[in-house]
């Protein structure tokens, strides 16, 4: 799990062009949107693309998106679950 979290942090930094940040700057449990990193709806779309392209995960509804993208940890958990199923 921790490996995925570190990998994911690097990928998020790259996907969202968070130039000044390193993985250590991101708290895996903090919310990604509104508070925490303060990401917005465009970032959510970018993270959807990341999940689908890199991990083959498709987010189907806005509600699902809110849950999966809540924090780095929730993203990692979702990825692990998806990998277990496949």
């Amino acid at each position: 799990m921790e490996e995925i979290i570190i990998q994911l942090k690097k990928e998020i930094i790259e996907a969202l062009n968070l130039e000044e940040m390193s993985p250590d700057d991101i708290d895996a449990d903090a919310p990604l949107f509104i508070e925490g990193l303060g990401l917005d709806s465009i970032d959510a779309l970018e993270l959807n693309v990341l999940l689908e392209k890199k991990y083959g995960i498709k987010i189907n509804t806005a509600e699902e998106g809110k849950k999966v993208l809540h924090s780095v940890r929730s993203m990692a958990e979702h990825i692990l679950n998806h990998q277990k199923k496949n």
């Binding site: 917005d40 709806s41 465009i42 779309l45 693309v49």
Partner: protein
């Protein structure tokens, strides 16, 4: 400097027709133009319905009959057709009789040709036919229209996403009021492109079925293409030529939401500001409005914001309103110009157009659009909204003369 500004001609080409008359007939018959594209070359051909103009580029070229053989993008072709019709409609034969300008608007410009150039070019910078890249910029289609119409006195292009041609109309009025021009051809043009289809798809705001503006189950917009132009003339120019007036451009307002790059603020702040400014310049009050031609794209975000703004401004005196985008699709920069033509038709023929595909009341709103053609109510003042990316919001008010 309080010259009144009048509309003396309209020109339009879109998914439901290639002239003002044909478009009016389509609306009367509830004939929309949304379907899968025929000419646009995309893998998404059967994924997303669009409002495509039912003519190929060659057919458009034949409709235009340009004076000299020249590179014309689809955007330029559409613009030339509509602008020429507007001029003819206004009975203008001698373009240099008065100080005449052209203000066009576009978002894609010649992107339809750029998309042909680019794949070869990025493979090898020495390949790709240059004739397909020289029409890329927004100014190209405008200058093609200007040369086609013989206009030289003042030429420019506005590009503010979906509010572009509404802004062009606003600028035209100001140029007349500031005594820089006597009359001006104003509007906009945009062609369907892979760029915009894929762009809006990446934002996940395209509907896979026919759009349902202001409906609770709405799921996004249908892209469209086309061009819409009107002729604005000063009082002086009309009196001298004893012109036939279609209606008056009574008010206009532009404001910036400054909330987010693509989403509009949930309280409709920017939209309310634009509408208020239009009332200010027009001297009218909300209760004077008989019909609102809404921006109404069919996206969850826009229709909620716009609906809230209408409720806020009009209170319980909300006039009848509808979005005509279920006929034409969202024609991006051309939408303000196309919908200005609709607003003129509403006044000319005393009609209020239906909002197609509306069946379910939005739960956040108390108001709902009209869904049948209304022809027995007076239409004296029409308000038209155009809200674009970057929070660029514009409202125009047209009045019966």
């Amino acid at each position: 400097m309080s010259e009144r500004v009048f509309i003396t001609g309209t020109g339009i080409i879109c998914a439901i027709g290639n002239t003002t008359q044909v478009v009016l007939e389509s609306i009367r018959q509830s004939k929309h133009g949304i379907g899968f594209p025929t000419f646009l070359n995309t893998i998404h051909q059967f994924d997303f319905p669009v409002g495509e103009v039912k003519y190929s580029n060659n057919e458009l070229y034949d409709l235009v009959q340009p004076k000299k053989k020249t590179n014309l993008s689809r955007t330029a072709l559409l613009g030339m057709i509509a602008a020429k019709e507007a001029l003819k409609n206004a009975g203008i034969e001698n373009i240099s009789e008065f100080r005449t300008g052209l203000i066009s608007a576009t978002t894609v410009g010649g992107m339809d040709k750029t998309e042909i150039f680019f794949p070869s070019f990025i493979n090898n910078p020495n390949s790709g036919r240059l004739r397909n890249i020289i029409t890329h910029d927004c100014g190209d289609s405008t200058e093609q229209i200007a040369e086609h119409l013989g206009i030289k006195d003042y030429i420019t292009t506005i590009s503010t996403a979906c509010s572009s041609s509404a802004n062009a109309i606003m600028l035209g009025a100001r140029l007349i009021k500031n005594n820089i021009l006597d009359r001006v051809v104003v509007g906009g043009t945009d062609a369907l492109t892979k760029f915009t289809l894929n762009g809006f798809n990446s934002l996940m705001i395209l509907d896979k079925s026919h759009c349902r503006p202001f409906d609770e189950t709405r799921n996004g917009l249908n892209l469209g293409e086309g061009a819409g132009f009107v002729i604005l003339e000063s009082e002086k120019s009309i009196k001298i030529n004893n012109k036939n007036i279609i209606c008056e451009l009574k008010g206009y307002g532009n404001a910036c939401d400054a909330f987010h790059q693509t989403a509009s603020s949930p309280d409709g702040y920017g939209a309310c500001l634009a509408i208020s400014k239009a009332f200010e310049t027009s001297g009218l009050n909300p209760e004077d409005i008989d019909y609102i031609n809404a921006h109404g794209t069919g996206t969850p975000n826009n229709d909620l914001t716009e609906g809230k703004a209408i409720e806020k401004i009009f209170g319980n005196k909300d006039p009848m309103f509808s979005s005509t985008k279920s006929y034409t699709g969202h024609t991006l920069a051309a939408s303000g110009g196309i919908e200005a033509v609709f607003s003129c038709l509403a006044i000319q023929h005393q009609l209020i157009f239906p909002n197609l595909n509306f069946s379910n009341q939005m739960k956040e709103l108390e108001i709902s659009p009209v869904n049948t053609l209304i022809h027995n109510k007076p239409v004296r003042n029409v308000l038209s909204n155009s809200f674009g990316f970057g929070g660029n919001n514009t409202t125009l008010i047209f009045s019966k003369y």
